[in-house]
């Protein structure tokens, strides 16, 4: 009789499985209450509401250009933002928006020297603080490291370099305003990664693809990411869900938000993509200290902030060896490295993160966020 049970339960299991997959889009991401502080082009700066801010130094979260930043605030009970707000931090988040063809001219220069710089400025203005903590994840972490690696932020056009007001407030922001820098699963030298095998071929005309497509479609980026581990991404995730349904252990509230987030890929502006491929996978200019943004050299040796680096052992997107050179480059006196098993996203956003890594990250920040 027990041998027949799987067959008897198959129709109900199939219905449940299909229902979970088909209603994935109904999952609510980013549910923590927040206010819009500043907008420019597609970029939005949010501040999370809190009645119990304990730490004087605000925290600005920066995510990658290839996925939505809602991963920081995935679901109630499984949200890093919710956790940090409850711990007493004044949390801000920069959202790059969803670029389209009109944003094709957005390069890494614009993201670092304009959007991130101005988001930092507005964070300082809104919080009234002189310094902040910057926490980047994936490409977002690389952008944060680049920002701190500039001696000053080169202006675009007529606007002069950031100035300090007569009242002494550094609302102009700049790398000096970053007290703590947390870099989560960050690539800085990916020349030996699987991606590099794909895009490193000199015959692959990166500029032509960027110019033809103008913005690299999110679907293409998603396909490339999934092809790094094709069976795991296209088969195993569904098989695990099916198995969970069979065993009565499938957690809709955990599966759906992550599945929805993974499938939501904004386009990558062509110019930024082309610069990224060259800097990270072909020339390795960032790690060699030869990368330039608006003509200014990005020198990671200028990073002197309190530094937290988190790496994941099973990270196939930003493998640990591609992050390790940062330790030989920075000038920081206070360096902490949290090296754990886990994947690129799962380490920080997985179901175990709340118990395993968030407390450690919050503790590191708390110790360095008093006035």
């Amino acid at each position: 009789m027990s041998a027949l049970r799987p067959f008897v339960r198959f129709p109900t299991n199939a219905l449940e499985f299909a229902n979970i997959v088909l209603t994935t889009d109904d999952a609510v991401l980013g549910a923590t209450p927040r206010d819009v502080i500043w907008t420019h082009r597609g970029t939005t700066l949010y501040r999370y509401r809190s009645e119990s801010r304990e730490y004087a130094v605000p925290l600005l979260l920066v995510f990658a250009l290839i996925n939505r930043p809602e991963i920081f605030d995935l679901r109630p009970g499984g949200s890093l933002v919710e956790y940090l707000v409850a711990e007493g931090f004044d949390v801000f988040l920069v959202d790059w928006g969803s670029p389209d063809e009109e944003d094709a001219d957005m390069g890494l220069d614009e993201y670092v020297c304009d959007e991130l710089h101005w988001a930092i400025r507005e964070t300082l203005r809104a919080s009234g603080a002189d310094e902040l903590s910057l926490m980047g994840w994936c490409i977002g972490a690389t952008l944060c490291a680049m920002y701190c690696g500039l001696n000053e932020i080169p202006p675009n056009g007529a606007l002069g370099a950031a100035r300090v007001g007569r009242n002494g407030r550094t609302h102009g922001a700049g790398p000096a305003a970053i007290r703590n820098l947390a870099l989560l699963t960050m690539p800085i030298d990916a020349r030996r990664s699987r991606y590099a095998t794909w895009v490193g071929d000199p015959e692959f005309d990166v500029d032509e693809v960027a110019s033809e497509w103008r913005v690299i479609p999110g679907g293409a980026i998603d396909f490339a990411n999934k092809m790094l581990k094709p069976v795991t991404n296209y088969v195993t995730s569904y098989r695990r869900l099916w198995q969970g349904v069979q065993d009565g252990k499938a957690r809709r509230d955990a599966y759906q938000p992550m599945a929805k987030w993974v499938a939501d890929n904004p386009a990558f502006p062509g110019r930024a993509w082309s610069q990224w491929i060259r800097m990270m996978y072909r020339d390795g200019t960032l790690v060699a200290g030869r990368a330039r943004l608006r003509g200014r050299r990005v020198d990671l040796g200028r990073i002197d902030q309190n530094l937290l680096v988190v790496t994941a052992g099973a990270d196939h997107i930003a493998p640990r060896p591609g992050t390790m050179p940062i330790f030989d480059l920075v000038a920081s006196e206070d360096v902490t490295h949290i090296a754990r098993p886990g994947g690129h996203i799962g380490l920080i956003a997985g179901s175990a993160a709340r118990k395993e890594i968030w407390p450690e990250m919050a503790e590191w920040l708390a110790e360095r966020s008093e006035r």
Binding site: I37, H40, D103, R125, T197, D205, V335
Partner: protein, 169 residues
């Protein structure tokens, strides 16, 4: 000074890494053959024998694990990279040709095409860039003139959020 912090950070990192690597190895082996390994150990311990369902599941997972490894090796080859790169170039070129063609058709019937909308959007963005710079200059001047005045939003935002900032400071 620099040496001290390097050794401190390295040792701390090494400690954590060594701990985590072993944990990682454990996890990896655990997930490699999954249920099959569990069932086998159950049998070895003299526990209940595997059910047919468990056996099928273990076999499937073993096959999936092997094929995952094989596919990962396949996509790591430069030839796959070449294939992917050429396909990307071709798809990008075709989508550009298609988009240009559609724009020509729309313009011929005097309807704004995608290219026209993009041009308009870029003009709006240029204006927004200039407005942002003016706002920053104004804020800078206000900070300099009104010493001690509380910071304000440059644009967007919820007035209540500002009130909360004021109350806190």
């Amino acid at each position: 000074m620099a040496e001290r912090r390097e050794s401190g950070s390295t040792s701390a990192g090494a400690k954590r890494e060594s701990g985590s690597t072993s944990a990682g190895a454990k996890r990896e082996t655990g997930s490699a053959s999954g249920a099959g390994r569990q069932s086998r150990s159950r049998e070895a311990d003299g526990g209940a024998p595997q059910s047919a369902e468990d056996q099928v599941r273990a076999l499937y997972e073993q096959a999936e694990s092997s094929s995952a490894q094989a596919f990962e090796e396949f996509v790591s080859k430069p030839s796959f990279g070449w294939l992917l790169a050429r396909s990307a170039e071709n798809v990008a070129a075709m989508s550009r040709i298609g988009a240009d063609l559609a724009d020509i058709v729309l313009r011929t019937v005097r309807i704004a095409g995608r290219a026209d909308i993009v041009r308009l959007a870029r003009q709006l963005q240029r204006n927004e860039d200039k407005l942002e710079r003016v706002l920053q200059e104004v804020e800078q001047l206000r900070d300099e003139v009104g010493d001690g005045e509380q910071p304000r939003r440059s644009n967007g935002g919820d007035p209540k959020a500002d009130e909360r900032v004021k109350a806190q400071s």
